[in-house]
Symmetry: D2
Subunit: 269 residues, 4 copies
C-alpha cells in the first residue's frame, strides 16, 4: 500500500519479486535502488541487504518467492537487521539500477567483477525484454525455426549472466507464453512449481483435475503431477493475445543433487 516500508535487513533465504500490478515501489539492494513495474522480475540472492518503500499513491501487487520451506527444514537460515534509516540518495529511484548498468547488456560482462557470489548480480529483468523475447520466439517459429518449446509455446528462463545457470541457487524462474488456441503436452517432473497467470486466460490440468484460470490467478503443480495448459485468451483479455504464465520452481535443488526426473512425450522416463 502507498507509504508502506520494509526496513533494511538481510537473510540467507534466496528470494525474488515478480510484479503483477502497479508500479513505483522501489527496493534497495546493497545500496542500489531498483524500480519495480508490472512484469518485472527482481531476484534477491541470499545475504544481500535490502529494503522496500512504496512511493506511489496506488497499491501494488507482487509475488514474493522465497526458499524458506527448504532452508527451514535444512536448518540453514540466518537473519540480520540492518540500518534503521536508509540514506536520502537511496530513496530516489533512477530509471536504471546500478546492477542493470553493470550487467544488463546481453553477453557483456564487466571485467572488474572478479568474485562470484551465489545468485544473479542483475537485480532486474524488465518486462519489455521478456515480452519481446517471447514474441521473437513465436515469430521465429512462424518462419519455420525450432525456437519454441513446442508449437505455440514460447518460454524464457531468467538466468544469472555470470554463469548462464539458474538465477538463484535454489529457485528457477521462467515466463511462458501460450498462443491463443494452443495446448501444451502433459509433462511430469520432480519438484514443485507455482504459476501466476500474468495475462490472458485458459484451462489448466494438474493430475486429473482441470479448471479455468485468468489474469491474477495463482496455482500450484506438486511434484510428479502431470501438468498441461490450454490458452483460451480472448482478444480483449490479453495484451499479448496469449496466455502468459509466470512460473517458479525448486528444480535447481533437484538438478544439483541429481534427483531430477522428467517424463514428457518423447522422453525416456
Amino acid at each position: 500500500m502507498p507509504g508502506e516500508d520494509a526496513p533494511e535487513h538481510r537473510h540467507t533465504q534466496h528470494a525474488f519479486r515478480f510484479v503483477l500490478e502497479g508500479e513505483s515501489v522501489w527496493t534497495v539492494v546493497d545500496g542500489d535502488p531498483v524500480a519495480m513495474r508490472r512484469g518485472d522480475f527482481l531476484p534477491q540472492a541470499g545475504w544481500n541487504w535490502h529494503a522496500h518503500h512504496n512511493a506511489a499513491k496506488e497499491p501494488m501487487a507482487w509475488i514474493d518467492g522465497l526458499d524458506i520451506p527448504f532452508q527451514y527444514v535444512t536448518e540453514a537460515q540466518f537473519f540480520e537487521p540492518g540500518r534503521d534509516e536508509i540514506s536520502g540518495p537511496e530513496k530516489t529511484t533512477p530509471e536504471r539500477s546500478r546492477s542493470e548498468r553493470l550487467w544488463g547488456y546481453p553477453g557483456l560482462r564487466p571485467v572488474s567483477a572478479v568474485t562470484q557470489a551465489p545468485g544473479s548480480p542483475l537485480f532486474a529483468y524488465r518486462w519489455a525484454d521478456t515480452d519481446r523475447a517471447l514474441a521473437d520466439q513465436l515469430a521465429l517459429e512462424g518462419e519455420g525455426l525450432d525456437s519454441t518449446v513446442e508449437p505455440g509455446h514460447a518460454a524464457v528462463r531468467y538466468t544469472d549472466p555470470a554463469t548462464g545457470g539458474d538465477v538463484l541457487p535454489t529457485i528457477r524462474a521462467e515466463m511462458h507464453r501460450i498462443t491463443r488456441g494452443a495446448e501444451t503436452e502433459p509433462v511430469r517432473e520432480t519438484g514443485s512449481s507455482v504459476y501466476a497467470v500474468f495475462d490472458g486466460s485458459g484451462l489448466v490440468t494438474v493430475g486429473g483435475t482441470t479448471w479455468s484460470v485468468t489474469r491474477g490467478d495463482l496455482f500450484v503443480v506438486p511434484s510428479w503431477q502431470p501438468f498441461s495448459a490450454k490458452s483460451q485468451a480472448g482478444s480483449t483479455d490479453s495484451d499479448s493475445g496469449a496466455l502468459d504464465l509466470f512460473r517458479f520452481s525448486d528444480s535447481p535443488v533437484f538438478e544439483a543433487l541429481r534427483l531430477h526426473r522428467v517424463h514428457a512425450p518423447g522422453t525416456a522416463r
Copy 2:
C-alpha cells in the same frame, strides 16, 4: 571489397570478426544472415557453416581472429566445403539476426535450447551495447562505485550467454576504454594478446618499448611482457573521448589447463 564473396564452408577453428570500418557485409551462420557494422563483434564457433558477402558499394575492414596456430600445432584441424550457392533468403540481411532474437536479451535464455555446443550461440555483439556498457562503468565510477578495472579504465568481456564464460573455448575477447589522460598499471600475464585501436590515440608500453598508437593501429603483447597504455585521445579524434582498445587473447587455453599466471600491482605472483 564490394561484391566479394566467401563461399560456404566450416572448420573446427574458432573464429571471430571485429569490424573496424564500414558496414553492409553480411555473414551467414548456419543459415542465419548477420549484419556487420563498425564496432560489432561477431564470434564464429568451430564447425558452424558460414559464408560472407559484401552487398555494399564501399570497402570494409575487419579483424579476422582464429585459433589456427593453436589448432595447427595440436593437429586438431578439420575443414569441409559447403553448398556452392546459398539460398535467396539468406542473402537478405534483417536488422536483427535469429541468434540475437533468441539469445540477445540480458539474462534471458530460451528454454528450448537444451544442448550446449562449444562457443556462444549469440552471433553478434552490437557496438551500441558495448559503447553504453563502457560509458555506464565510467559513470558509475564517477558516482563512487567500484565498477572499473582501475581508475579511468573500463572494460567488458564478450561472453557466451549460455555459460557466462569466454565467448569461444580458445579465444577471449574484450573492449577496453581508457579515459583521456588516464594510464593503466603495468600487467604481465601468460598468453598472448592482440590489440586493435578502435578509437582515440595514446601511448602503449610493451616490455621496455613505448610508442604512439592511433585509430586503426594493431599491436601485439607477447606472453609475460608487461603492458600498459596511456590515453592521449584528443577532442577531435575520438567519438568516446577516450582510447578504445579491442583486445583478444588465448587466455582461455591457459585457464582451462591451469597454466594461467598474472603479475599485477597488488597481486601475488
Copy 3:
C-alpha cells in the same frame, strides 16, 4: 539376526551401511555380492537394485543411513520392488566384490567405465584401509608434517573415486580418530551430523552440554551447534588406542546449493 533377508528392491534414496559389530551378512548390489565386516563402509547410491541376507549364526549391527527426510520433504522419492528370488551365484560372497576389483585400486580408473552415475561405483571401503590411513596421518604428524586436521586429530572422507567428491550426492561420510588425551577445537557449521562411537571413549560437547560416550554410542550434532570431542580412550577399551568416531552429514546438500557456512577457530565467519 541370523537367517534374516531383505528382498530385492531399489529406491531413489541414497543410502549406506556402516558395520558396528559382527560380519557375514552380504548385500547384493546390481548382482554384485558384497561382504560386510566390522568397520566397513558400504555406500548404496540411489536406484541400484539391492538385497541383503545374513548367512551367519551370529547377529550383526550396522548403521543404515539414508536421505529419506530430505527426499520426503522435497517429494523426490521413487521405489520399485525387484525379483522375488535372487540367483544362486548371488548368494555366495567372494572375498572381494566386483566393484572393488574394478574401482578398488588407488588412483586407477577402468577405461571401460564411460558413463557417470550419481554416487560411488565402489561398493565397499574396507576397515583395514581406513584404519591404516588414519594411523599413517598420525605417524606423518609425528614426523612433523601437516597431515592431520589438528594436533592428534586424523580424519578421512569416503569419496567417489570417479570424481574425488562426496561418496553420495546428498551424504558425506568420514572417519575421525582422536588420540588419547587430545581434544578438538569447537566447530560450528550448517547441516546436521550423526556420530557413532566406533571405538574408544571420551567426552563430547554439543552446544552447552557435555557427556561421556563409549563404543557403540550414537549422538547427533544439529545445524550450527558448536561441537568438540575429547578422547579419554583407555588402554583396554580401544584397538587403536584412540577415540574413533564415524560421522555422516548432509553437508553435500549445503555445498551444492551454496548454503554452507563454517565457524571454526581461525576461520572467517
Copy 4:
C-alpha cells in the same frame, strides 16, 4: 647410471616418469623421497620442487614424459633452480612415500587436504596395483561382465584421486593389456599418443603401416591416424602372458578445449 644426480629444481611443465627397467633411483618431490621400480608410474605436477639420485649399482631406464612442446608453443614456461644440496633424510627412501600414505588408499581422502593444486597429489602408482587391476578386469570379463574396453583388452587410466580426472592437466596416462591372440579395433582420435611396450610382443598398425614390437620398444600414434594392436606375446616373453602397452597422450588438452573427436567402431563421427 649408478651415482648420477639431478639437482633440485622446479618448472611449470607437467611431467611423469614411467619405469621400464631397474630400480633404486629415488626422486624427491617437495621433500618427499619416492622409490622407483619397474612398472611404477610417477607423476610430477608442474611447479613442485624435485631432484633425483640413483643409489643403485645398476643402470635404470625410464620414460620421462613432459608437456614441453605444448608449453613452448604457448609460451607458458617458467623454471627455478632449487637448493644445491638436499638434506640427509631426503636421501633415504622409505618403502612408501608420504604422498602414498596420505592419498594411496582407494576412495579415501585426507580431510586436512583443503586446497586443490593442479595435478595429482599421489606421487607413485605402483606396478603391483596396476597389474592386479588389469588382471581383475580380464577375470571379470571371463565371468561375463562388461569390464574391459573390448574383448581381451583391459585398460586402466592413472587419475588424480582428488578429482577422478586425468593425473595431470595436460597429460593422460594409461596402461593397456591385450591378451595373447586378441586384436583391438582400429580407433582414430585427435591428439597424439606415445606407446611403450612394457611387456610381451605383437603387431601394431598405425595408419596403413604394420610392424612388430617387443618389450622396450616405443612408438607414436599421430593425431587422427587409425591405431590397432594385436598381441602375439609368447609364453616366455611376458610376465602377464599378454601384450602390456603403456600409453600417454595430450587428450586432456583436447577435452578441456572441446576439440576432442573420436572415430571408433560403433561411434558416431
